[in-house]
Amino acid sequence: MEKNNEQTLIQEIADKKYEYGFTTDVKTDIIEKGLNEDVVRLISYKKGEPEWLLDFRLKAFRYWQTLKEPTWGHLNMPEIDYQDISYYADPTAKSPVGGKQGDIDPELMKTFDKLGIPLEERMALSGMAVDAVMDSVSVKTTFRERLKEMGIIFCSISEAVREHPDLVRQYLGSVVPYRDNFFAALNSAVFSDGSFVYIPKGVRCPMELSTYFRINARGTGQFERTLIVCDDDAYVSYLEGCTAPMRDENQLHAAIVEIVVMENAEVKYSTVQNWYPGDKEGKGGVLNLVTKRGHLRGRNSRLSWTQVETGSAITWKYPSCVLSGDGSQAEFYSVALTNNFQQADTGTKMIHLGKNTKSTIISKGISAGRSQNAYRGLVKVGKHADGARNYSSCDSLLLGDKCGAHTFPYMDVQNPTAVVEHEATTSKISEDQLFYCNQRGIPLEDAVGLIVNGYAKDVLNKLPMEFAAEAQKLLGVSLEGAVG
């Protein structure tokens, strides 16, 4: 390939605007920067929370104060000043929280329309209910009534605390306790909004449930909390999407997702993560430091994580599964793409405790520009996990000689009947494949797109259709021309 041609293509990509980088001019109620017990109390007060939840927050906060930020990731993390962040921003302040649709600021409606997430049910894609969260507050949840008829609860976690306190109290922190890690403790202390899903026994959720997270206000962080409980024999597919405006400061996003899966139940959790990745100099971008975990409690329960990670300056997350139910099955499919100065240290943990449990890990890393992309995963087989089976496959694709691709799998096996396999490869796009495409008149950029999409196909196939199309587009946008 002619060098010049390549250079221009790379340039085009680097100059490509982040599509969702606009800001919304809406009056937002932001509390003062800083973090102390009063702030935790204030957040709790603003959300009108019961005493037990405030206690939970305070315990978490006190514990967080004893911790140090972890440094073991393969990341070059900018120093985070936790006192320089505002922990609560409410763009719906103009109208009473939880008011009718008519009360939502039209600016907000417009914003979500622009993001392709229409909040009016008649306009919405059929078969998908959306909970739209901006900054610290859930703006609107669609199709609630229809879901309610089937006994499904789908609302923001703040509403759930008010309306279904017993359920929330029973499950909150049961999968990711506040003592889990530094960011989990921080989130437990200051979490704002997120979604709550409860699927009752034997119900198959008729539509995709989805939460769309948007950071808008400057100088804030987003600390969402999602809790999904899928009772016996139930099924739900849940999607998560996220974007943020372009800013030259780093914005912090420290979320917790907890999933409880009961007997014979199945949960599919898909993420297309497209937070602002920073500019081509590596300035700005969202720090995405997330704890996600599912607990497969019941027999024959199933949980599948699918993630497409294209955004964020730093991604540090390990969606995990604790397989305690006998015969439970977990899957993890991931495509992580890093470009420019992005850094990702992501993977999963599969903890086999029950008998005859199975897990599959398929991870595809793609690094371009000067980015660093690491897979880190743990497969642990406990003493009593007879017949546990794991298969992991991690492939990395390198586009360019300045980027890095790393694989750090950990395996800890304590049971003689377990079978654990791991394989990984690292390579660049094959010259032969490119040549073959070129020969048939497919230009370089399209050829790379084709090959990368083919490479990520195993994972993209696992996404619900609407998301798969978006993810495919995203991969294309981030990769055109980035051939090394």
């Binding site: 586009l399 000689d401 304590q414 049971n415 654990v420 396999e421 490869t425």
Partner: protein, 472 residues
Amino acid sequence: MIAEKQYIELYEQCRGMINEHSAALLNEPREQAYNDFCHLGFPTQKLERYKYTNVAEAFAPDYGLNLQHIDIPVNPYEVFRCDVPNLSTSLYFVVNDRFYDKVLPKASLPDGVLVMSLAEAAIKYPHLIEGRYGRLARSSKDGLNALNTMFCQDGLFIYVPRNTIVERPLQIINILRADVDLMVNRRVLIVVENGADVKLLFCDHAIDDHQFLATQVSEVYVGENAHLELYELEETHVKSHRFANMYVDQQRSSTTTIDNLTLHNGMTRNRTDVTLSGEYAETKMYGCVVADKQQHVDNNTLIDHRVPNCQSTELYKYVLDGEALGAFAGRVLVREGAQKTTSQETNANLVATDTARMYTQPMLEIYADDVKCSHGSTVGQLNEQALFYMRQRGIPLDEARMLLKFAFVGEVLDSIRLEPLRDRLHYLVEKRFRGQTMEQREQCQIHSSIAESRERKTEGQLSKCEGCKLCK
């Protein structure tokens, strides 16, 4: 810093004595190492490379140290009852940390080849040691290097001059011998000059029923176009602790094969760091671990591809029984610009009981795009179908299991290029699986099996033994 305290105090008290019984070149870096050790202490399990071994615990007991260089009354050639002048290895002994030079093999080495005491070499051939000693094994990088540099007084020096081919393998037997619990700090320096070719076989033994703690730091320099085959076989006992750090530096177009076999031991921790500093260099690393009871084996490797066009292969296999704990962590680092690197890393493990535990961690860290790197790792058990097939044909279950285990590690053993050694090891491993303990054997396995291999009518150079008492 509790475990460290006794060593720091010991050093402070015995500085003079340590220096007196060593050589100036070895004494030089001692103070720096002391400062580094005070600063670093023992590596903790919070360090990524020491996750699976509790170092401080192993060093906590009060071991004796032979700092005064008191002569240990032993003639290893006699102890081993195998004085084998016609054997096709040149046999040397290192007793604890001292090179045994009272009796040397009669076979002469090619001109210029040195196998001798490190302290002596530091006096006689300082130009060969200077600039090499302590260059790869930095005391500031690892607390164990610091401790070893602080206390080591002697060890082994092997030098193969330019374009010299040593046909006959050099066999070095490390013997741990003491009447009390003993700590040994051994140092090994191996220099293979440009175009030279040598095969080394190290065997570790403990001949007394005491607690032993041996630290060994080896620095290996492999010159351009040089070829080195290095086999390490550990056959000590359950009371023995081994901490071995080996650093290898390879120049252009050199090849190195490192084979690490642990059959009998107490606690073993091997760290092997290979740096490929010249293009077209090739490294092969193999490991085989057979462990039961409460054996602990932790192999930690790093292959550092600094330049383009190098190749590395790694294959480690573990068979764990009883309450054994096995750990393997292998990291392949491909630095920026090290294009056209090929690397393959494999770790396969058999866990036979629910009390045994295996940790495996094959890692790739890659900063160059035109590379082919892969790793694979498995933990599993014996194939039921294969067992069934054999039992169907009248092979008892235990025998069938043994055959499968043997076949499993066979892949590693087959990588040994020294044919007689390969045969011998096949035999040794088979014996190991049949549950023979060290107590039942009295002498060096490599040698004792000569007689048996005769019985089995295997051919091979090593079986030409004519001199030892056993054979007579």
